[in-house]
Amino acid sequence: MKNYFPKLSMNKKLALIAFVLGLIAVFAGNPYRGNSVTMDAKELALIIDKQADHVSSEELADWIVQGKSDFKLLDLRTEREFNEYHIPSAELVPMTELNEYPLLRNEKLVLYSEGGIHSAQAWMLLRAKGYKAVYMLFGGLEEWTDKILFPKLAQNATPDQTAAFEKMKEVSKFFGGSPQVGGTAEEISAKKLMPKLEMPSGTSAPTAGKKKKKEGC
């Protein structure tokens, strides 16, 4: 037995190794990570500290305007709220259904809720479950409303602010919002009316997944 292995031809040695590895595999268990969750607290803390856990509403607006489709936008609110208004291309995933919702671990996921709390909790949940590319919309839908749909320009704005506002105006119009110039905060909020859902025409706003990045050969 001792001298058996070296005497074999190279091919037979390799075949034997493959056989043994295959045999061990029968007892070695499932390669997929199951339901057990491991959380690297330090890693998560670092991500949060580096602010790599969120995207700003400007960034997200930019992605949608550009027609990027390499991410999935998930709306964590209720169905009623979703039907009233949602960010174009968003998919409705109420918090309670997050566990069952079919998501790929390598997909870029952007979460948003009304404020920031639900999305932050969902972020934690998904990260712990091993979803690597999860981001939340900073400030939630509230900030989206303020910054994208109804950007304001104060009367005493600096030229820099005005320039930024001019840029934002186009983005805002794209999403069916209405930029506000001057006036006090109260006046502005009174005028707010959420854009109709069909406003950003489906032609330019992509539905996530349709143009999914192809992989494989």
Binding site: A18, F19, G22, A25, A28, G29, N30, G130
Partner: protein
């Protein structure tokens, strides 16, 4: 260790292209050195004269499979991050048949035709041209065939999910299949291969 590196963000898109280039060069180099740039050698497998292609491909499959399996089991790799192309059973069967016919008739598969084209073989270049024309035609008629192209979807399914058997047993089964296949190939080369004289 966090594998796959790209999915874990170890490097970005641009670096991944450089790495893909290097791996591609290496792949092409070893295909060529293995004689895979020669249509006669590739086609010889269909006459059982030379089953190198079968043996190389199956070896690659089980090496990758066993490697990926163990890396995942010991936790160095997240298998769920590895892309599995979705299965569309009818269109893919037909596509496979088309590719198989092309392979038997022309002597190349897409990858090996590139290898043969860059080594200056004219048949390889014609093959490559055919691929480009085929891609173009497919792109142009896509609206007509898209229904068929997307028919009978089965999702991103693996054998272990399809047959509902544990992954490890499947690994063993495929290894056994490969070893059996190698033995059969050696036997076929000796017994059947010599009966047909190469042109």
């Amino acid at each position: 260790m966090n594998i796959p590196f790209f999915k874990y963000g170890l490097f970005g898109d641009d670096v991944s292209l450089v790495i893909a280039f290097i791996i591609g060069i290496g792949f092409g180099f070893f295909l060529e050195r293995g004689g895979f740039g020669n249509g006669r050698k590739l086609a010889a497998q269909f006459y059982f004269n030379d089953l190198t292609v079968f043996k190389v491909m199956f070896t690659a499959i089980i090496t990758a499979m066993v490697g990926i399996y163990y890396l995942s089991v010991i936790g160095w790799m997240d298998l769920s991050l590895v892309y599995v192309s979705p299965t569309y059973i009818v269109p893919q069967t037909i596509g496979g048949l088309v590719l198989g016919f092309g392979f038997v008739i022309g002597g190349y598969c897409p990858g090996t035709s590139c290898v043969s084209a860059v080594t200056g073989k004219i048949d390889g270049m014609v093959y490559l041209l055919g691929i480009v024309v085929g891609i173009f035609v497919f792109g142009e008629i896509y609206p007509l065939v898209s229904n068929f192209y997307n028919s009978t979807p089965m999702g991103q399914i693996t054998l272990s999910q399809l047959f509902n058997i544990p992954y490890g047993i499947l690994v063993f089964a495929v290894v056994l299949m490969a070893i059996g296949g190698f033995a059969a190939a050696e036997w076929a080369e000796k017994k059947l291969g010599n009966k047909i004289v190469e042109p």
